[in-house]
Subunit: 92 residues, 5 copies
């Protein structure tokens, strides 16, 4: 999984059936210094997040292992909000 | 998933059975500033899109979770057209 | 999927059972300007291609969804020969 | 799989059910000279590791093939602690 | 699949059950000019290889489609030794 920041949302009309009831957010993934990689992923929200939140993103088949994302064809899901983290990179 | 722009199409004759009835589009993926990455993906169209459209692309096994792509061996599908989006990257 | 060019072949003796009867080609993937990325993939040929051909490559589990590749442990397959393509990148 | 170093941990409250009882570590992946890539992965710990440990990380569907990670939607798991390694890169 | 060179091995004590009886090698992947990418993968050996051998590596779920790797949670396996190859990149 990766840590990302919710930086936007996507509105689609002509999408296929399975994605209709879900929210799609733009999540920019963080590098190991917690800076945005400028490389975003369109994620199904399975938690209930807001703009600016730090979140955990699962990609690949694992993204369809939640109640909300199971019937969809997604390849990325927000599966948790990050409340805090410890980073010992300074020790290097 | 990722946002991409439909930039071309591919015509194949000698392709294997499963891909025959589907349209294959070239989609260039966007970075977080909505610029083309110059890195395209050959996608099955499951929505009905046109050149220049912004679309959502699913890669990996999720691309075979639609009615149209299920019987194929694809690893990428256009699953929605993007009608609008909000981007709060300017807040950074 | 991606477009690549067949640039070589691989001969293996001590390979495991499942890969014995198949041909393995080196395919260099193209970027969106149709230049070689210098990043090749070893692919099972499910179509019957030759050196220099432009081909479509499926990676991941989708590469095992063809009659020829199904019993193998491959993660990449040539699934079509590209006969023509339209590219509207010049419009950008 | 890849070798990484445990560089931090993540605390989440509003995470979905499946991830509740597991520990999430930040693991920075190593390049072939055993330097940190500054590209970390959020991993489920299936072994019992500590900060600074060198570990083996499995990504993708394989990360859910352990007793601890099976019921989760993870895409990355720590599956072993590295006790020693031989590196013959100097021979190149 | 990709071509790589066996450049080292990994010794783990505290690994989980499924990986116990298998050998783990460090494989550095080659680019299209057959130079090391300095980006290695920890692979299960399903063939019986030695240091310096050129090998074919399968990643993802395909790596668990061999007799040896099936019960494991690996995401990478050495599936063949490369005995020879033809490379027509010079024609470009």
């Amino acid at each position: 999984m990766e840590i990302g920041k919710v930086v936007g949302s996507v509105i689609t009309v002509s999408k296929i059936e399975e994605l209709r009831p879900v929210k799609l957010f733009l999540v920019d993934i963080l590098d190991s210094e917690f800076k945005l990689k400028n490389d975003f992923v369109v994620c199904i929200d399975t938690v209930g997040v807001g703009f600016g939140d730090l979140v955990i993103v699962t990609q690949g088949s694992g993204s369809r292992f939640t109640e909300i994302s199971k019937p969809t064809h997604t390849d990325a899901a927000i599966v948790a909000r990050v409340d805090d983290y410890n980073n010992f990179l300074g020790e290097r």
